[in-house]
C-alpha cells in the first residue's frame, strides 16, 4: 500500500467515524465537535487530490467560521443533553428504513457500473489558485456574481433583522 493510500484510508475513516459520532452523540457540543472532525478530514482529502486552495478554504470557512458560529450559539443558549420525546423516538423507524434504502441504492449503482472505480484525475493545474480564479471569473462569472449578490442580500437581511428591536 502506498503512502497516499494509507493517508486516504485514515482520513476517510476519520470522516466516516466523525459523521457517525455526530448522529450518536447526546450533547450538541459533542455533535458539533464531530462535525469539525468531518470537515477537517474532508480538507485532508482535498489536499490529497492536489486541491490545496480548496483544502485551505474548507478549513477556514467550514472548520473555522461556520462551526465556530455553531459552537457559539450552542454555548450561548447553554443547550443541554438532547431530550427524546415519544415522537422523536418514533421518527427513528422511518429513518432506519430510509438509511437502508439509500445504502441499497448506492450499492446497486456501484455494482451496476461497468467501469472500475477510479480516483479523480490529477488536476493540479485546474485545482491551483490560478485555475480556480480563471474558472470563477471567466467561465462561470455570471453564476459567481449572482451568488455574491445573494450573499449580499442575506447580509442586508441579517442586519435588518438584528436592528428591528431599536425602532
Amino acid at each position: 500500500m502506498t503512502a497516499p493510500l494509507v493517508v486516504f484510508f485514515v482520513l476517510a475513516a476519520m470522516a466516516v467515524i466523525g459523521a457517525i459520532s455526530l448522529i450518536l452523540q447526546k450533547h450538541p457540543i459533542h455533535s458539533a465537535l464531530s462535525l469539525i472532525v468531518v470537515m477537517v478530514a474532508l480538507a485532508g482529502l482535498y489536499l490529497l487530490l492536489g486541491a490545496e486552495f480548496v483544502a485551505a478554504v474548507q478549513i477556514i470557512v467550514y472548520g473555522g467560521a461556520i462551526m465556530v458560529l455553531f459552537v457559539f450559539v450552542i454555548m450561548l443558549l447553554n443547550a443541554g443533553v438532547e431530550e427524546h420525546t415519544s415522537i422523536s423516538k418514533m421518527a427513528g423507524a422511518p429513518g432506519l428504513l430510509l438509511v437502508v434504502a439509500l445504502a441499497g441504492f448506492v450499492a446497486a449503482t456501484i455494482a451496476k457500473s461497468t467501469e472500475s472505480v477510479q480516483a479523480a484525475p490529477q488536476t493540479a493545474e485546474m485545482a491551483s489558485t490560478m485555475g480556480i480564479s480563471n474558472m470563477l471569473f471567466k467561465e462561470f462569472v455570471y453564476p459567481f456574481e449572482l451568488t455574491s449578490f445573494l450573499i449580499l442580500v442575506a447580509v442586508l437581511g441579517a442586519i435588518v433583522l438584528a436592528q428591528r428591536e431599536k425602532s
Binding site: 478549513i59 465556530v68 454555548m75 491551483s128
Partner: protein, 414 residues
C-alpha cells in the same frame, strides 16, 4: 543490527530529517517561550519602575526553570461537573495548533548542505504553495481551544471568557485576513518565500523595497487584529482578571494551565514571524544589496553583546553568576567572531539573523504594548474591530488593486 538501522535511515532520509527538525524546533520554541516569559516580566517590571525577577540565578535567568518545575509539580484538580473529554481536549488542541502553525514558517533562504541533503531552516519545505492560507486555516481552528475550555469548565466566569473569546476571534479574523490581501496582490502568491522575494524586487532599495511602505494601512490592521487574535493586552478580554477572575482558564491548574500559557506565547512568536515576513521583508537585509560591508552586522552586534555579558558576569555577586554569565558571553562573542572570520558562516547567517532580529523587535513591541496600554471595554473592542479595522482593511484592498491595475494598464509593468 547497525547496518539495518543505517539502511532504514538512508531509505527514509527525508522523514528522519523532518523528525529531527521537529524535535529541534519544539526544543527551541519551548526554550524561547520560557525565556519570553522572563523577558516580558523584566520589561514590564522596568516599565513600571520595578526590578522584576532577580532572585533565581543571575538577573533571574533561571526563573523560567523554576516556573517550569512549579507547573509540573502543582496539584492538578479536575473540578466537579466538567465535561471530562472536552476539558482535557481543550488545552491539548490549543497547544497543538499553536505549535503546528510555527512549522510553516521558513526561517532562512539558504539550505544547509548536510549528509548530501539540502536541509532548509523551518519544517515545511519553503515552497508551500498555500503557505499563508494554511497558516490562517490553523489559526481559524485555534478558536476552539479557548472556546471549549471556557464551556467545559462548568464555571460561569470560564463560560463568559470563552464566549467573549469566540466573539472576539470571529470579529478580528475577518480584518486580519482582509489586511493581508494587499500583500498577496503585490506578491501574486500565497507562498511565503515568494512574498519575501517580491520585496527584494529592487535589491538596491533595501528597506524601502519592503511591503511596509505601500501597505502601511494593511500592516496597521494586521498587527492590531493579530494582537486581538492572540488574546494579548490590550485585547485580553477573555481573561480579564478584574471581571472574570482568569476567564477561560480559571479552572485549569498545573500543566494544563501551562499548556495554554505556552500556546499563547507560541502564537505571539508566529504573529511576529508573519509581521516580519509579510511586511518587513522577512530575511532581507534593510541595507542595499551592494553594501557588502553590512554583512558583518551580525558580528558587530554579537561580539559587543558577548563582551558586555562577560564584563557583567565578572562583577556579579554570586559565584554561580560569575561562572554562567562569562561562559554565555564567551559563547556569544565566539559565535560573532566565527561569523566574521568564516565566509560561509557569514553568508549563511545573513537571512536568519535579520529575520530573528525582526521577530525579536515585534516580540518587544508586544510586551511594550502590554506594559503601556489599558484594556479595552467590550463594546469598544467590538466597534473597533467592525467599524474601524474591517472597513480600513477593505479600503486598503481596493486602493492596492487600483494601483496595481493602473501600473499594468498605463505603465505596462507587471
Amino acid at each position: 543490527m547497525i547496518s539495518f538501522f543505517s539502511n532504514l535511515l538512508s531509505a527514509n532520509a527525508e522523514l528522519a530529517i523532518t523528525v529531527v527538525k521537529i524535535v529541534l524546533l519544539l526544543f527551541i520554541v519551548l526554550t524561547v517561550n520560557a525565556y519570553l516569559t522572563w523577558f516580558e516580566r523584566k520589561v514590564v517590571a522596568h516599565i513600571q519602575s520595578r526590578w522584576g525577577p532577580h532572585r533565581v540565578g543571575p538577573h533571574g535567568l533561571l526563573q523560567p526553570l523554576a516556573d517550569g518545575v512549579k507547573f509540573l509539580f502543582k496539584e492538578d484538580p479536575t473540578p466537579a461537573g466538567v465535561d471530562k473529554f472536552v476539558y482535557y481536549l481543550a488545552p491539548l488542541l490549543t497547544l497543538t495548533l499553536a505549535m503546528t502553525s510555527i512549522a510553516l514558517i521558513p526561517f532562512g533562504p539558504n539550505p544547509i548542505r548536510l549528509f548530501n541533503h539540502d536541509i532548509y531552516l523551518g519544517i515545511a519545505p519553503p515552497d508551500v504553495n498555500i503557505g499563508i492560507l494554511a497558516l490562517f486555516a490553523i489559526t481559524a481552528l485555534g478558536v476552539y481551544g479557548v472556546t471549549l475550555a471556557g464551556w467545559s469548565s462548568n464555571n460561569k466566569y470560564s463560560l463568559l471568557g470563552g464566549l467573549r473569546s469566540s466573539a472576539q476571534m470571529i470579529s478580528y479574523e475577518l480584518a486580519m485576513t482582509m489586511s493581508v490581501v494587499g500583500v498577496l496582490l503585490m506578491a501574486g502568491s500565497f507562498n511565503l518565500k515568494k512574498i519575501i522575494e517580491a520585496q527584494a524586487h529592487h535589491p538596491e532599495w533595501g528597506i524601502f523595497g519592503w511591503n511596509i511602505w505601500p501597505q502601511i494601512l494593511g500592516f496597521f490592521c494586521f498587527f492590531v487584529a493579530a494582537i486581538a487574535e492572540t488574546n494579548r493586552a490590550p485585547f485580553d478580554l477573555p481573561e480579564a482578571e478584574s471581571e472574570l477572575t482568569a476567564g477561560f482558564h480559571t479552572e485549569y491548574a498545573s500543566f494544563k494551565f501551562a499548556m495554554f500559557f505556552i500556546a499563547e506565547y507560541t502564537s505571539m512568536i508566529t504573529v511576529s514571524c508573519l509581521c516580519s515576513i509579510l511586511f518587513f521583508g522577512g530575511w532581507l537585509s534593510p541595507f542595499p544589496a551592494s553594501w557588502t560591508f553590512t554583512h558583518y552586522f551580525p558580528s558587530a552586534v554579537l561580539i559587543p553583546f558577548g563582551l558586555w555579558v562577560i564584563w557583567d558576569g565578572v562583577r556579579y555577586e554570586t559565584l554561580f553568576g560569575r561562572i554562567i554569565l562569562p561562559g554565555a558571553g564567551t559563547a556569544i562573542a565566539g559565535l560573532g567572531a566565527l561569523f566574521m572570520l568564516w565566509h560561509g558562516g557569514n553568508e549563511f547567517i545573513q537571512g536568519p539573523f535579520w529575520l530573528l532580529s525582526k521577530i525579536f523587535v515585534f516580540l518587544f513591541v508586544y510586551v511594550w504594548m502590554r506594559g503601556t496600554l489599558p484594556r479595552f471595554r467590550y463594546d469598544q473592542l467590538m466597534s473597533y474591530g467592525w467599524k474601524l479595522l474591517l472597513p480600513l482593511s477593505i479600503v486598503n484592498v481596493i486602493i492596492t488593486s487600483f494601483v496595481i491595475l493602473a501600473k499594468m494598464t498605463w505603465w505596462g509593468a507587471k
